[in-house]
């Protein structure tokens, strides 16, 4: 009798470090912590009521995501938005999303016609209510669903990691183009359901490349958040 197989998932309990990292990430992406701000381990530790060690581990994690810049013995600062980095992230994201959307379109034969409807509706509702947070959450959910439909949901983890670089720009965009986004999502969804990978790819590229033009406007309106380059 093999009892050892019955053990339940002991994995998922989040550590303090992980929670701190997540909380800081939200603060940075929502510009609560502003680009250029300097923070310190002890400062954040005191604010959360924990010791410096888990905060330090959170810092390291965020530095690897490109959100913090740790300068030993000097300071740790929230990195300013870099147009170059944003475009690089967009390039990677586009490569990944094109790969999954093509696959989703090629294998869409036995999908119900209304797989996307629920998301369209809730995103439209969020737009009508001017609820940006909900809107962006549904935006992410749409892209994630495509990855799942392609049988490569794990790719979303990477897309999400890249997205971090773009999220602050998206936050600054806010109302810019909520309805437009929904229209593009519909185009992509229809191309998938019609089993047309080339068309799905084209719509996806166009959708993702909107940021290329947006980012310069955003920069001009928020110079202080951007790196000079």
């Amino acid at each position: 009798m093999n009892i050892s197989k019955l053990e339940f998932d002991t994995e998922a309990r989040p550590t303090i470090a992980k929670r701190i990292a997540e909380s800081l990430r939200d603060a940075i992406v929502s510009l609560e912590l502003k680009p250029g701000d300097t923070i310190s381990e002890s400062d954040i530790a005191a604010r959360f009521g924990v010791s410096r060690q888990p905060v330090r581990e959170a810092f390291i994690q965020l530095a690897e995501q490109g959100l913090l810049r740790i300068r030993p013995q000097r300071s740790t600062e929230v990195v300013r938005i870099s147009i170059r980095d944003v475009l690089n992230a967009r390039f990677v994201r586009e490569a990944l999303e094109v790969a999954v959307v093509r696959k989703a379109a090629a294998e869409s034969a036995d999908l119900p016609d209304d797989v996307f409807e629920e998301l369209y509706r809730s995103q439209t509702a969020a737009s009508d209510a001017n609820d940006y947070r909900a809107f962006h959450a549904k935006d992410d959910a749409f892209h994630r669903l495509i990855a799942k439909l392609s049988g490569n949901e794990f790719v979303w983890k990477l897309i999400d990691a890249q997205k971090v670089q773009m999220d602050r720009v998206r936050f600054l965009s806010l109302k810019l183009g909520m309805p437009g986004t929904i229209r593009e999502h519909r185009d992509i969804g229809e191309a998938i359901l019609s089993g047309n990978p080339d068309l799905a790819e084209a719509h996806m590229r166009k959708h993702l490349r909107k940021i290329d033009t947006q980012i310069h406007q955003i920069r001009d309106l928020n110079r202080e958040y951007f790196q000079e380059e």
Copy 2:
């Protein structure tokens, strides 16, 4: 676990934690640390002659790369090779490499005809000398060069991160197909120089997908290193 020596190069590398991480990564990829081995912070710390803290940070980093599995209060183990994970990594890598190789081919107009020659030669030399380490280093250099030629060298960082999952398989392959690899590299290089993105893409996909068939042979010869799935 049973290792003779573990040490980091005393020069370069900013923090102890990073040096430990790099050293451990090499040990894992070269199967010095075997899949399934359990290691502990204090154990490794003693071997390197440092405290647990930097080792712990190295563990966290390697866990994020999918090489270690940290089970709080229980143990930390070197994860076994998972065919699924390897194929997932291959999928991502393919998406990225296709994107850069197409771009490189599309913009190859003003490249000197011999950009790749040096690498071809040194890789052939490494193959003739049965020098696997050098061969693999040149293999990586070739792919990295393509990313650079496309103007997106930063993508290499991601490709490299994905590659970690495949490197242990590559290590087990060893002699399998060194000459074949060179032939494929030449095909890719020629397609780039002839400015043919579609052909370059096709050769790249074929090149990267070799692992799909190889991995099952490797698994059958090294069951103990693989996860049952």
